[in-house]
C-alpha cells in the first residue's frame, strides 16, 4: 500500500466528527468504491450513498422501447455502448431483441458508429446517444464528421443529460457531493463553486484508489469545520474553466430540453437534443418514432435508490426477483448501478 493511501485511510478511519452523508454522484465512482472495498474501511459516521450518475440507470424505459422499435420495425442497425445492451425495456432488452433479428452492434465510441455508417451506405445506422456532459461531445463529434463527409445514413437517438438539474434535485438528500471528475473536466467547476456559495458542499474527485481516498479525506475534514466548501481534488484533469472547445461544440449542435430520468421523473432543462439545424441526424425526426411512454416494473424501487432514500437491500425485489441475470430495474442491470454493485460486491464478509 502506498503512502498516500495509508495517510488518507488514517484520516478517514479516525474520523470522529458529525455524521456525514456523501453522495457519490457518478456510477464509475460507485463501481470503484465497491471494487476497492472503500465502504468497508469507513467508520459509521461516514455514509456513502450512490446518486443518479449512471446514464444507463436513469435512461427511461421508453428509450429502450424506441431503440428496439427502430431495429425491428425500421430495420436500422443500432449501435450502442455495451452498457445498454441488457437494460430491460417495457417488454424486451436489446439483447433479447437481437434474438428476434434486431441488428445490434456494440461500439467503443460514437465515432465508430459513424464510420460503420460510412462503410455501409446501404444500412441506416442509429447510435444510442446516452451519457452526461463527458460523453455528449463525442456524439457531437460523430455528427460533425457525418456532416463533413456527407454521410446521410447516420443518426442519433438522444437521451443525453446534464448534471446541474440533478444536483439541484438531489442536494437535500445529502450533506455533500463527491462530484464526477470527468463531467467537470468538460464543464469546469463553476457550478460546484456556485452550489458552495448556496451552502451545498462538495469535492471533485478522480477515480484511482489514491484519488478517491484523498478526496474523501479532504471532504470529511472540511465538513468537520462546518462551513460550506468546494475543493477540486482532481486538478490534474479538471480545470476551473473545463473544456471550452467541448462546450462550444455541444452548444453549436445541441440545445437543452426537458428530460425524463428513470425513477426520478422529468427534470426541466436537463436533457440535450440536436438543434433544428442538425435535425437530419436526429433519429426521432428521421424515422418519425412514435411516442413511447414505457412502463417500468412497478415493484422496482430504483427511483428511491437513486435519490439515496433507500439502500438497495431494502428494496423488496433486490436479490430475489431482481438480480444481474434477471434485472427488474436499471440499477441492477448496469454494473455501475447501485443495486448491481451491492449485489455483486456483497455486503457482509
Amino acid at each position: 500500500m502506498n503512502q498516500t493511501i495509508e495517510r488518507a485511510k488514517e484520516i478517514l478511519t479516525r474520523y470522529d466528527g458529525p455524521h456525514c452523508r456523501i453522495m457519490e454522484v457518478c456510477g464509475t465512482h460507485t463501481h470503484e468504491i465497491f471494487r476497492q472495498g472503500i465502504r468497508r474501511i469507513l467508520p459509521e459516521q461516514i455514509e456513502l450513498i450512490s446518486g443518479p450518475g449512471c446514464p444507463v440507470c436513469v435512461t427511461p424505459v421508453g428509450f429502450i422501447d424506441e431503440a428496439i422499435w427502430l431495429a425491428l420495425e425500421k430495420g436500422v442497425t443500432v449501435c450502442t455502448f455495451g452498457d445498454l445492451v441488457r437494460v430491460p425495456g417495457t417488454e424486451a432488452s436489446l439483447q433479447t431483441a437481437r434474438g428476434k433479428g434486431a441488428a445490434v452492434k456494440v461500439v467503443y465510441t460514437p465515432l465508430d458508429a459513424e464510420r460503420y455508417a460510412a462503410e455501409h451506405p446501404d444500412k441506416q445506422v442509429v447510435f444510442l446517444s446516452v451519457g452526461f456532459e463527458t460523453t455528449t461531445p463525442s456524439a457531437c463529434l460523430a455528427v460533425r464528421k457525418a456532416q463533413q463527409d456527407g454521410i446521410r445514413n447516420f443518426s442519433l437517438l438522444t437521451a443525453n443529460k446534464t448534471m446541474p438539474g440533478a444536483y439541484e434535485a438531489m442536494k437535500d438528500s445529502t450533506d455533500l457531493f463527491l462530484y464526477p471528475g470527468h463531467v467537470h473536466a468538460i464543464t469546469g467547476t463553476g457550478i460546484c463553486e456556485k452550489l458552495a456559495e448556496e451552502g451545498v458542499s462538495g469535492v471533485c474527485a478522480g477515480f484511482t484508489a489514491s484519488e478517491l481516498l484523498a478526496a474523501l479525506a479532504v471532504a470529511v475534514t472540511r465538513y468537520q469545520e462546518g462551513k460550506p466548501f468546494f475543493v477540486n481534488c482532481y486538478p490534474r484533469v479538471v480545470r476551473p474553466e473545463g473544456s471550452p472547445k467541448a462546450q462550444s461544440l455541444v452548444a453549436a449542435m445541441m440545445e437543452p430540453c426537458d428530460e425524463e430520468w428513470r425513477g426520478i421523473g422529468v427534470i426541466p432543462g436537463s436533457g440535450m437534443r440536436l438543434k433544428e439545424s442538425c435535425q437530419m441526424y436526429d433519429a426521432r425526426v428521421r424515422f418519425r418514432v412514435p411516442e413511447m411512454a414505457g412502463r417500468a416494473n412497478p415493484a422496482c424501487r430504483c427511483g428511491q435508490v437513486l435519490k439515496g432514500e433507500l439502500l438497495p437491500p431494502q428494496c423488496k425485489v433486490f436479490g430475489k426477483a431482481c438480480t444481474p441475470e434477471h434485472p427488474v430495474g436499471a440499477c441492477m442491470v448496469s454494473s455501475e448501478g447501485a443495486c448491481s454493485a451491492w449485489y455483486l460486491y456483497g455486503q457482509n464478509l
Binding site: 452526461f132 463525442s138 477515480f207 475543493v231
Partner: protein, 68 residues
Amino acid sequence: MCVGLSAKVVSVKDDVAIVDASGARRKVSAALLSDLEPGDFVMVHAGTAIAKITDDDEEESGALLDLL
C-alpha cells in the same frame, strides 16, 4: 458514468491522435484539445481525448493531504 483511461499520446495528425495505455493503442479524436504533442498524457473517454493531464495521481493526492 464516465469510464476514463489515462493514456500517452504517440502521434497526432489533424484531429486524430494515437494513444497508448500500457501497450494498448487506439485512434482517438483529438478535436477537443489544442497543441497536443507526442508524449503528452490525456484522459480518454468514449474514443475522445477530453483533457490534457499529468499522469501522476499519487503526487497530486499526496499534495492535497499535505494541505489538511
